[in-house]
């Protein structure tokens, strides 16, 4: 005796709330998303941030300019040189310091290598997110390790370099710096080819990423996205090109842009940026000349005149800005970090609504968030 189901009967359907994180391997740190799902479709996303808030901005206000550098490392812990660069450039602009040429070239080399390192981390972690479990991660870490070894030889530390100083660099690079960088670049080239072979042309990878989490250029601009997330939508905003700092105006490189702004484009943009970074480093190595790395008359304790400044640079994840207010003296009166990840993360809700639950992880991974930078 079959039960008669009335064709017009309406089930009382309720959306299900799924709590993802804060300790979830695919949230790249301590990040919590509450997904409202209807079957497999995501209807709403509520991101919760702040689990990793350490008060780094406030702590840096209690310290003098040299001591604060260590805290910048700890905000953006995958692109430390880029974070340090914003900070020291802000201090330099306030104190009106002239950075010697050699220091600027070395800074550029290190920042671009750091960009490659950070993007390797992204490709590996992103591969894990889409399901190339382990392989992409270990392969990209193998290449990342080569760059990290170089940084260890230069600065002494593997992650928290604390190498840039207001005015220049903390100490001179080793004698074999140039051949070592070339050696690293060779290894990096092979590594990018490997990642391309492993992921970019892979049909499964494409099926998971093409057309997923697309965002329009207007939306991305409205949310304040920067970096590869914005460039993948077709907006050629690269601070290295639009507001050249250091010596980027003397260097020939292309701004990599996409068209559709989906997850796949964000990935290919980053791969393209790695090739461009290699080009930049090679040009820098040719221009590198011996010379001083610090200005002649540096005071023992750097003091800045009263004033305020906003200094932004192009970090691997986008615009990393430092807003610094000085009331004179040797420490900032107010320090505010404009974090690229924080702004990019705001667009997550727009991208995710309407996609599958499994794609939510991929979209989050494609934003390449660093929770240390989001929460500071």
């Amino acid at each position: 005796m079959a039960t008669q189901v009335h064709p017009d009967h309406e089930f009382d359907v309720q959306d299900l709330m799924i709590n993802m994180g804060p300790q979830h391997p695919s949230t790249h740190g301590v990040f919590r998303m509450v997904l409202v799902v209807d079957g497999e479709i995501v209807r709403d996303v509520v991101p919760y941030i702040g689990y990793m808030h350490r008060g780094g901005e406030k702590l840096a206000e209690t310290m003098d300019y040299r001591q604060g550098i260590g805290w910048m490392d700890r905000t953006e812990y995958l692109a430390q040189f880029n974070a340090e660069l914003s900070y020291v450039m802000a201090v330099e602009a306030l104190a009106e310091l002239q950075v010697p040429d050699r220091a600027q070239w070395i800074r550029m080399i290190l920042c671009e290598l750091n960009r490659i390192l950070s993007h390797f981390m992204f490709t590996g972690a992103f591969g894990t997110d889409v399901g190339v479990f382990g392989t992409a991660f270990t392969y990209s870490f193998r290449e990342r390790e080569v760059i990290q070894d170089l940084f260890e030889e230069i600065t002494g530390d593997r992650m928290m370099y604390a190498y840039f100083r207001p005015g220049g660099l903390a100490w001179e690079v080793p004698d074999n710096f140039v051949p070592r960088v070339r050696e690293v670049l060779k290894s990096v080239r092979q590594g990018i080819k490997d990642m391309n072979g492993l992921l970019t042309d892979n049909e499964v990878f494409r099926a998971r990423t093409v057309g997923v989490g697309a965002i329009s250029a207007a939306d991305a601009t409205d949310w304040g996205c920067t970096g590869p997330v914005l460039r993948s939508t077709g907006v050629p905003l690269d601070l290295r090109r639009t507001e050249p700092y250091l010596k980027y105006d003397e260097i020939d490189f292309d701004v990599i842009t996409g068209t559709t702004g989906d997850v796949f484009e964000r990935f290919t943009c980053r791969i393209g940026e790695m090739w461009e970074s290699i080009r930049i480093v090679e040009q820098c190595l040719e221009r590198l000349e011996p010379g001083p790395i610090m200005p002649d008359r540096m005071p023992r304790m750097l003091r800045t005149p009263p004033g305020e400044i906003y200094m932004r640079t192009e970090a691997p994840r986008g615009e990393y800005g430092i807003y610094l207010v000085s009331k004179g003296g040797n420490r900032p009166h107010r320090l505010k970090i404009r974090s690229s990840c924080f702004a990019n993360l705001q667009a997550l809700r727009d991208m995710t609504i309407g996609s599958y639950v499994a794609d939510a992880v991929v979209i989050l991974g494609s934003l390449d968030i660093v929770l240390g930078e989001v929460d500071r």
């Binding site: 040299r66 392989t135 230069i154 002494g156 530390d157 042309d201 892979n202 049909e203």
Partner: protein
């Protein structure tokens, strides 16, 4: 299908490469001379006393306040009938390795080149069972350089 085979080719090519991994506790990577582990104090082998005079420069410059320094009159000073030219010398020195963030600032501010970053593997393998064991005292801080294990490194 072609892309999948290419991916497989990348994985297969890894077999032909030399392994980059090490069996860590048995084999150690050679550390660069500039390697920064934790700060230690240097020993003046000629005078048989520490270089440190307890001037508090590093203590004041430390961003995380991990150091505590106490100074005393040097019993080995010339005025006391000794040979040393150091009027003051370090009495007690604690560094809390649990707080230290290895930023190298203490090395930079030191006027007597009395402090350096440990560039041996001892500096990295500092696991302890109790957090309070990470607070290092003066004999522990001097031990590495006193025994001559510290590699000469490029002072910045």
């Amino acid at each position: 299908m072609k892309g999948l085979l290419k991916s497989m080719g990348v994985t297969l090519s890894a077999f032909t490469r030399k392994p980059v991994t090490r069996e860590y506790p048995e084999t150690h990577k050679q550390l660069p001379e500039r390697d920064r582990a934790f700060p230690i104090l240097l020993w003046d082998h000629g005078m048989n006393e520490p270089f440190c005079t307890g001037c508090h420069a590093c203590e004041r410059a430390c961003p995380v306040e991990c150091m505590t320094v106490l100074m005393k009159d040097n019993p080995n000073h010339k005025s006391q009938g000794g040979e040393s030219s150091r009027r003051k010398i370090i009495d007690k020195f604690w560094i809390d390795y649990g707080r230290c963030m290895r930023c190298n600032i203490c090395v930079e501010v030191c006027n007597f080149d009395a402090i350096a970053m440990n560039n041996t593997w001892q500096g990295h393998e500092k696991s302890v069972y109790d957090r309070s064991d990470l607070v290092q005292e003066l004999p522990q801080l001097l031990a590495v350089h006193r025994s001559g294990e510290l590699k000469p490194w490029v002072v910045p």
